[in-house]
Amino acid sequence: MNTDRKKAHFLTKVKNWPLLLPVVSLILVMAVNIVHDAATGVNPLSFFIISLNETTSNGTILYGRIIDILNRGSEVAILALGMTLVVSSSAGTDISVGSVMSLSASFCCMLLAGYGVSSTNELAVPLVVGVLAALFMGALCGAFNGTLVAYLGIQPMVATLILFSAARAIGLLLCNDLIVYVRNDSYGYFGGFTGPIPTPIIIAAICIAIVAITLNKTSMGMYIQSVGINSKASRIAGLNSKRIIFLTYLICGLFAGVAGLVNSSRITSADSNNIGLYYEMDAILAVALGGNSLGGGKFNLAGSIIGAYTIQAITTTLYALGVSTDQAPVFKAIIVIIIVAIQAPPIKAYFRKKSLEKGVAKA
């Protein structure tokens, strides 16, 4: 009897665990990998194997599917941090992050190579200037979005639509319609390796740590949530709602700048047309997958981060299954629909009713 009750207690705890959905989806993706490996005769646990391999260009590096997912998923994880805060505080999404990534990367490469130069081995200005410029550009775009949303009261999607179409185009103008290559090892560092570990993983970890510490050690997290739940009440309670919403957009833009820097460093060039394409969709998806409501209010940062890596795991798995890059979105769409449909209120209500009926029948 006692164990029965304990079991029921444990079950309800699991049911109400906010990270249930992202963790379950991540486990499902891993299961698909294991089954696929077993079916094709590869070691079923090859998904989890991490090894040290010698390479000619980068020395000894960590190698394995998990490392690859963590590495490739860095940008989306960084973007998801800012997006979570934006969604929480303003009940809207920032759809400009992908374009802002492209603009930051273009601005950085333009400075490093000099205007109008399409390929260079020598840096025109010190690397630090380029990096700071990328971050500054991201923050500037974030401030623009934040001003429109917080101080002019414009719906987030419309406000960010402006930079969505303009930022990429401005980036192209800065690069003089060229793809700017910065073929310098020091620039490739952010997308390369630090010792055996890929640098993007470290950058993502630092960003996550900064945000997590700030939210936990200060009351910023609570302020953002309270503004998202009811901005008028928060204002009356003495919070500067507008400034908090502005700040979340600023942070989101800043992280878009970081992500743009990492992404362009991977290819040591600024390809304005392709950097960050559809990244805003992945970032929003990560937030939704993490069990966060896009209607604002309470948020769960861990969920968003797991969501971001889940998306990358899905993509990597699809490639491993032999699906082409162009066709992968079909499966992504189906997975998204299944996940959000499970979370939909009417379906949840239906299951609750079912389980209640079961309980009544038992009694």
Binding site: T93, L148, L152, G153, I154, Q155, M157, V158, A159, L161, I162, L163, F164, S165, A166, R168, A169, I170, L172, L173, D177, M281, I284, L285, A288, L294, G295, S324, D326, Q327, A328, P329, V330, F331, K332, A333, I334, V336, I337, V340, A341, Q343, A344, P345, P346, I347
Partner: protein, 339 residues
């Protein structure tokens, strides 16, 4: 006699229309030597944007209910690819068009059901629709397929049919009379525009859309079937997008995975410039039509200039969007003060 007071929405619509004339007039003055003043330049804007007009009409309907549909761009790409591959396989033009519209109905029903009945956010559902459409395009065929006369002469003749207008022609350099002409897709687009306008204005369904966008809970209390109306809005959007896809294909005559990229944002910005609010309840397709024309005029001016970089239309459209959004927010602030 009824006297009507001008409300701020009418003023916004008038600003949009005035802006179009200012832009077009400016283009005429600056590039009169390059043939901008000919009627054909205007008709060309209509021809290239016929698909966009249909799509933007559908999007306006959805935006009136405070929703959004970002799947339209990939649906257009999928339609074009289906048309191209279908004709390669030797299916007739009329059955193919019917198939496209049926696909649109199914696509809209699925999206509408998820949004209306399961209460999932429109942005997420249509984002999945966007991924699905783009991916399906690649599944159907990953190469670029061009529609040639040998494949399907009926469709080819539709695409090349010129509807010559009896007025507004000009003599070209060689002294030959150039009569202005329209294409089939423009006629389709204008019919769609007119029907959507009438539907929004005079039918029960159209008024229900405005009511839901104004306040969903009051619409429920009024006894409107909100769930069904919402679903029908998405079905309508997808069907109009499918018609837009056919128009788009008549213009480009090919199918490719990279087609109509960012089309959804063009359509949304047209609707917003035309005075439709994303919060729902305000807007009409006439404004949207002028929004499309403004977009078209900007790219036409940049093209006529010939020296400006290809990214300028995007920047200018964004700047206009910015202008309109700020004007709208000022109007809203004034209205709030009056209360």
């Amino acid at each position: 006699m009824k006297t009507r007071k001008m409300n701020s929405n009418t003023v916004l619509l008038l600003i949009t229309i005035a802006l179009f004339f200012v832009l077009y007039g400016g283009g005429c003055i600056a590039y009169s030597g390059k043939g901008f003043t000919h009627l054909q330049t205007f008709l060309n804007i209509l021809i290239t944007n016929a698909g966009l007009i249909c799509v933007a009409c559908g999007l306006t309907v959805v935006m009136l209910t405070a929703g959004i549909d970002i799947s339209v761009g990939s649906l257009v790409a999928m339609d074009c690819m289906m048309l191209a591959v279908g004709m390669e396989k030797g299916i007739g033009a009329v059955p193919m068009c019917i198939l496209i519209i049926v696909t649109g109905v199914v696509f809209g029903l699925v999206q509408g059901f998820l949004i209306g009945y399961l209460n999932i956010q429109p942005f997420i559902v249509t984002m999945a629709g966007m991924f699905f459409g783009r991916g399906m395009t690649a599944v159907i065929c990953s190469k670029q397929v061009a529609i040639t006369e040998a494949m399907n002469s009926t469709f080819y003749s539709w695409a090349n049919a010129k509807i010559v207008l009896p007025f507004g022609g000009y003599m070209n350099n060689k002294g030959k009379y150039m009569a202005p002409f329209l294409r089939v897709e423009v006629v389709i687009a204008l019919i769609v525009l007119l029907l959507t306008f009438l539907m929004l204005r005079y039918t029960k369904f159209g008024r229900a859309l405005y009511a839901i966008g104004g306040s969903e809970s009051s619409a429920v209390m009024m006894g409107l079937n909100v769930k069904r109306t919402k679903m029908m809005a998405y079905v309508l959007s997808s069907v109009l997008t499918s018609i837009g896809g056919i128009c788009f294909c008549l213009n480009t005559m090919s199918g490719s995975v990279q087609q109509a990229l960012g089309f959804e944002m063009d359509a949304i910005s047209s609707a917003v410039i035309g005075g439709t609010l994303l919060t729902g309840g305000v807007g009409n397709v006439i404004g949207t039509f002028f929004g499309v024309l403004i977009n078209g005029t900007i790219s036409s001016i940049v093209k006529t200039n010939g020296k400006l970089a290809s990214s300028w239309p995007n920047i200018l459209t964004a700047a206009l969007l910015f202008l309109f959004i700020v004007i709208q927010s000022i109007f809203a602030a004034v209205r709030a003060k009056k209360k």
